[in-house]
Amino acid sequence: MRTILTTLGTGRARSLRAALTALLAAAVAVGAPFYFAPFQVFQLTMVLLYAVALAGLNLLVGFGGQISLGHGAFFAAGAYTAAVMLDRYDSAHLATLPVAAAGCFLLGLGFGVPALRLRGLYLALVTLSFAVFLPPLLKRLEPVTGGSMGLTVDKLQPPAWSGLAEDQWMYLVVLAVTAVALLLARNLLRSRVGRALLALRDDESAAEVMGVRLSLHKTLAFAWSAMFAGVAGCLYTWVIGFVSPDSFSFVLSITLLAGLVVGGLASLYGPLLGAAFVMYVPSVAQDVSDAAPGVVFGLLIIAVMFVAPTGLAGLAGRARDAATRRLTRTAPAAGRTPEPAPTTAPAADPAPADAEPVGAPPRTEKE
């Protein structure tokens, strides 16, 4: 058992394992629409597009340490960009994607400016105001947005050569966009830029001393995040074929944030888990109680946060830690790092008490 673990732990084996896992996941993801019923495929499609929005929000909240209660507004902006282009200009579906992405990126850049001066609850409040303010605005701009009636547009249609059903084609297109989006987010985070974001989340002034330009990274984090939400909105229009102001109330923004926290902040695959939660749990709640699905949904969030305080993505790691702890308790001192001996003569130690962590190796006193 131990030898297997050590062999798997080596660099090459790890990359091989990662490649195999990725391949398997890709095979499952591509095969799914041919196995499930159309309605289930539609649900999976929705999970994927929510995952894009959550990946964007993760960039801002999980990695950047800023908070946004207004991401529903960027989602709506992306959705309406696509819908208006399809409705008024008869654009091709694929043409709406770059426009929605670029538009929301710029919108995020603009709205990122308050993020420079505000933090915590104040930023949350300002971003919430975007989300509250957008639906009435959409209702007012009736000539363009169709007012409260919304806009009905064509869904994404499969090309004749593919021989696929509508739901299968939509799923595969959304899957492709999601894969690219998640890859972009991952690249961004595993780089100098991602480290800069993490650094300014942990300690802004130290990050600045390291040469991190706070304003640049904070506004761009907002812009990327808005772009991902906008792309998700655009996919939403393709899949649902209908947008109305009431689809994008501020509840959407809060649901997105809740989904992210449940999925796991600052985790690369937390957004996927969070998206599944956001998509499936309300319907499960509906099944459990017709009268008060909201209550069941709320209780389930509390339950998840109780069992997995670091989100669903952290659950595997926590389970592994618990298992190792149990294993090492039964077989102590078997090739592990030595158990720390209690520090002797703490009175001679000028270190502040809180700097001395549990598990520190004994200090070697040299006279």
């Binding site: 800069a196 001393v209 390291m210 040469g211 001395e356 006279e367």
Partner: protein, 252 residues
């Protein structure tokens, strides 16, 4: 290399620094001492642009340091450590060191998102360099550990590694050995001497541990209530009546 001339900082009614002036020659180590509240950290904060003096100038290699935005200071070759640790607690030790090299990196947001070949190359270089410096400072074992919850002495070394990752020419150490045990102080002094040699560093050190300061520095500046009360070689400073008075008080 560094010329501080007549800088004054006032916080409300308190004058934290009052016309302090001194110079730091290339390759030397200057100790900055003084009782608590003398303005030593404020002076450091001026040098790294965390705080702007009300009067006076700071020149680094004939460039006006006070005209730079705070984030550009690191790129000019000035790095620092913090009095109470300014590590990023949720990042690993290795990531902390790699953030230290931020000012030397060129990767922008778009290149990073697309992971262009030059981004990969830069990332690999930074990782290798971080690996080297972690080994050099005896931190290789804790490289993947978050930079919190480790022994204080180890965290101090992580901070030093992070500061060195910027490849500075001037290194500012703010109380590098406070809270360390005797043995650790000696080890840290040896370490600082060694990296100073290796990286051809100029040092400015704020420290209360007199043995550390006197052993390391060729010149000592003593501050009290924001004023410079003495400047000179360590032996002279130790005998200086004004310094003794500031530290110990005078008999009534």
């Amino acid at each position: 290399m560094l010329t501080v001339d007549g800088i004054s900082v006032r916080f409300g009614g308190i004058t934290a620094l009052d016309g302090v002036a001194f110079t730091v020659e290339p390759g030397t180590a200057v100790g900055l001492i003084g009782p608590n509240g003398a303005g030593k950290t404020t002076l450091f904060n001026c040098l790294t642009r965390r705080c702007t003096p009300d009067a006076g100038t700071v020149r680094f290699d004939d460039e006006d340091l006070l005209a730079l935005p705070p984030h550009s200071v690191a790129g000019r070759g000035i790095a620092r450590t913090f009095q109470n640790l300014g590590l990023f607690p949720r990042l690993t030790v290795r990531e902390n060191v790699m953030v230290g090299a931020h000012s030397r990196g060129r990767t922008g947001h778009f290149a990073a998102a697309l992971r262009l070949p030059r981004v990969r190359r830069e990332e690999r270089e930074l990782r290798d360099q971080a690996e080297d410096s972690l080994r050099r400072l005896g931190l290789a074992d804790v490289a993947d550990h978050p930079a919190s919850g480790l022994p204080f002495g180890t965290l101090k070394r992580v901070e030093l590694a992070r500061a060195l990752a910027a490849r500075p020419r001037l290194l500012l150490l703010d109380e590098p050995v406070n809270g360390l045990s005797h043995g650790e102080v000696d080890a840290f002094a040896d370490l600082v001497r060694a990296v100073r040699e290796d990286f051809d560093l100029t040092l400015v050190v704020v420290e209360h541990h007199m043995g550390f300061v006197m052993g390391l520095c060729g010149k000592v500046v003593c501050l009290d209530f924001g004023r410079k009360i003495a400047e000179g070689p360590p032996e002279e400073i130790q005998r200086d009546p004004a310094v003794i008075e500031a530290y110990l008080g005078v008999a009534a």
